[in-house]
């Protein structure tokens, strides 16, 4: 108790020295904790993005449908991503001859799904086509579609810009298993389907392919059941009949920023399946290895019209909700998180060193005091304990403050970064982490004080004073 009181008194006596050191320690620790929080936050963010995104993917093809016509595909081959939009057609007898296909992203490859380059330059290139969706189920007709209007222009624009497909959300029921499917909730409402019902599906020739049990319903954003359709460039009379089929949007075909991509579009899948062509034949015939985004447009003039149309759209329009950023930034978040983790490791080493040096400097500046205490008859142990308690009290106070302010530092740091400034801060500091850091700081302090006092005490008071 005496030593503790003495230590408190000493801290007060040396308040100026401890003030400077305390501020130093406080800032260094805060920056370190902030950096660790950021990296943990980014990893958590990426993880959430992945789960969030995957939970919204409601349509996933069964393997037997998915890889039709694909000679190269074997079970377990990485399926990176695939995307398509299509439509529904409900026959008079209540069967559905086509249904929507959204996308299939294998979890392991999720992070590769998007990147800024694709976003920025809206370019795409497929590297390897292993197979096609069984998109042929959508048949070759698009009956009863509605005009999308501005929404679809925007959609197309973002489709081009981000090279992205639309998100689908499971709004009722469960993800399908083998032999099951999900249908759009509006389609279900319109046709009176409920969970557990069976739907039949046919190919475009009317040949029945099988039946699927409805496991749930999905909803989609910006690409609803009704919004499939054509976009007509009516501002150009000569192009009145030229159309761009959103339902089989060729922009969807180009999501090719990675290897082993499986892509399809309406025509692709139709020919691949319906005509029983191999991929190679199909690719040759359709010149699939060209920038397919443009191939349904008839001429460069159309392309020009399209570009003008989309260029007129306000670039700053916040088209997608915040969740979309999770998707877009997930890839960045991982790379970012890795860098921040590396920075945090370096900072940790630096922090340990700084705390060590700080304690040595503080104690060394008071070596004359040690000499006096020693000459007054204090034992080595008492002198050592006195300085140890003093430094421990000082360090623990500022460490606690720093740990608490770490989150604020993180907020400031994140607000400086354009990619993460819009995201909600979701990371809650982990108590175990704080305790570990606290423990490390105290251990380093103890080590430093013991080391320096031992070196000083080794000498006689006269030697210390000289």
């Amino acid at each position: 108790m005496y030593l503790f009181l003495n230590a408190m008194k000493n801290i007060y006596r040396h308040k100026r020295r401890y003030q400077i050191s305390g501020i130093f320690l406080f800032i260094v620790l805060s920056v370190f904790v902030g950096t660790v929080y950021i990296s943990l936050y980014l990893y958590e963010h990426a993880d959430r993005a992945q789960n969030n995104y995957l939970s919204q993917i409601t349509l996933k093809f069964r393997e037997d449908l998915q890889w039709h016509g694909n000679e190269n595909y074997t079970e377990g081959m990485p399926l990176v991503g695939a995307a398509d939009g299509s439509t529904h057609r409900f026959n008079d007898d209540g069967t559905m001859s086509n249904y929507n296909i959204a996308l299939h992203v294998k979890k392991d490859y999720f992070y590769r799904f998007k990147n800024d380059l694709i976003e920025k330059f809206s370019l795409a290139y497929y590297e390897e086509v292993y197979g096609f969706f069984a998109d042929n189920l959508t048949a070759k007709s698009f009956p009863g579609v509605l005009y999308g209007g501005e929404l679809d222009k925007l959609t197309m624009y973002y489709c081009e810009r981000y090279n992205i497909m639309f998100r689908f959300r499971l709004c009722d029921g469960v993800m399908y298993e083998k032999g099951e499917c999900l249908i759009h909730y509006l389609a279900a409402k319109e046709h009176g389907y409920s969970k557990g019902d069976m739907i039949k599906y046919f190919d475009d020739t009317g040949k029945p392919l099988g039946s699927l049990k409805i496991s749930g319903f999905f909803a989609s954003e910006k690409y609803d059941y009704e919004s499939n359709g054509y976009i007509e460039y009516t501002d150009n009379p000569e192009r009145e009949n030229s159309s761009f089929m959103l339902g089989s949007n060729p922009f969807f075909i180009q999501d090719c920023s990675f290897r082993n991509l499986i892509i399809t579009d309406f025509d692709t899948a139709y020919y691949a399946y319906g005509n029983d062509e191999s991929n190679e034949e199909f690719i040759q015939r359709h010149e699939f290895n060209k920038y397919i985004a443009w191939y349904t447009l008839n001429s460069p003039d159309n392309l020009k019209v399209f570009r003008e149309t989309v260029n007129n759209i306000d670039d700053t329009h916040d088209f997608y909700p915040t969740e979309h950023l999770y998707h877009l930034n997930a890839d960045n978040a991982v790379g970012f998180g890795e860098n921040m983790a590396a920075a945090a490791i370096v900072l940790f080493i630096l922090l340990v060193f700084i705390i060590f040096m700080l304690n040595i400097i503080i104690t060394n500046e008071r070596k004359y005091e040690i000499g006096i205490l020693y000459s007054l008859g204090w034992s080595k142990k008492a002198v050592r304990q006195n300085f140890l308690y003093e430094n421990l009290i000082f360090v623990s106070g500022f460490t606690l403050l720093s740990l608490l302010s770490g989150k604020i530092i993180m907020n400031i740091m994140i607000s400086q970064n354009k990619y993460f400034r819009r995201l909600e801060i979701i990371y809650i500091p982990n108590l175990r982490f704080l305790i570990v850091i606290f423990g490390i700081v105290l251990s380093v302090t103890t080590l430093a004080v013991l080391a320096v006092t031992k070196l000083i005490i080794k000498r006689t008071p006269a030697e210390i004073w000289s």
Binding site: S257, G335, N339, I361
Partner: protein, 229 residues
């Protein structure tokens, strides 16, 4: 320069070096601290700034290439392939580019705080000495200049040593997979980093000393001497 002035300068320099030597033990600990911090700060600055420079240039080149071609030009596809292939190499640089600001902010703030600590702590421990010098008739301006150049010479030397070590560290890091080798040619900007760090150091020392000079001007030497516990 006449001999009187020369002698004055020599005396001033001797005084600075003498001060550093006299406080060698203090400066040794401070020096080690600054050295290690400067190695970490300068390395991170070099890597982050080089990544930025590297990515900016590549992005500009890619953008120019894309603008040159239309989708109907021959070679368009090859160009896309090339950009996509390069993109894989630049993936890590891109993430470094994006996280660069935060890393610079983290390490930069630690560097500045360390310098602040070292200068402030050293002066704080030498208040009595300043008070004695002041009381025996040395002008505050002279004391100020002595301290300024003492710190500047000492810290610049340590930072320069740290810079050399940082260059070697970066070179070693570039050999590993952690940082892409493509960044290598951009480390030329490191000379700018050194100049920037030393300039910041100088300004920081100047600011701290100006603050202290103001404080000393209103404090009597007796108090300064007696203030030291």
């Amino acid at each position: 320069m006449n001999s009187k002035k020369f002698n004055k300068v020599c005396f001033f320099l001797t005084n600075i070096l003498g001060g550093i030597f006299r406080h060698r033990q203090r400066y040794l600990f401070m020096g080690i601290l600054i050295f290690v911090v400067s190695v970490a700060v300068i390395s991170s600055l070099i890597i982050s700034l080089s990544a930025k420079e590297c990515y900016d240039e590549w992005e500009k080149n890619a953008s120019d290439k894309l603008n040159e071609y239309t989708v109907y030009d021959s070679g368009y596809e090859e160009m896309l392939i090339q950009i996509n292939t390069e993109k894989e190499d630049y993936k890590k640089i891109e993430s470094l580019y994006h996280s660069g600001n935060i890393i610079i902010l983290s390490f930069g703030s630690i560097g500045i705080v360390t310098l602040f600590f070292v200068v402030k702590m050293t002066i704080n421990e030498r208040i009595r000495e300043i008070g004695i010098l002041y009381s025996i008739g040395m002008s505050m301006k002279y004391i100020f200049m002595t301290l300024l150049w003492e710190f500047t010479v000492f810290i610049s030397c340590v930072i320069f040593t740290g810079f050399i070590t940082a260059i070697f560290s970066v070179k070693i890091l570039l050999r590993t997979d952690f940082i892409p080798d493509v960044i290598n040619k951009y480390t030329a900007s490191s000379a700018g980093v050194l100049a920037g760090v030393i300039a910041v150091t100088f300004v920081l020392i100047l600011v701290i000393l100006l603050m202290l000079q103001y404080k000393f001007a209103v404090t009597s030497p007796v108090r300064m001497i007696g203030d030291r516990k």
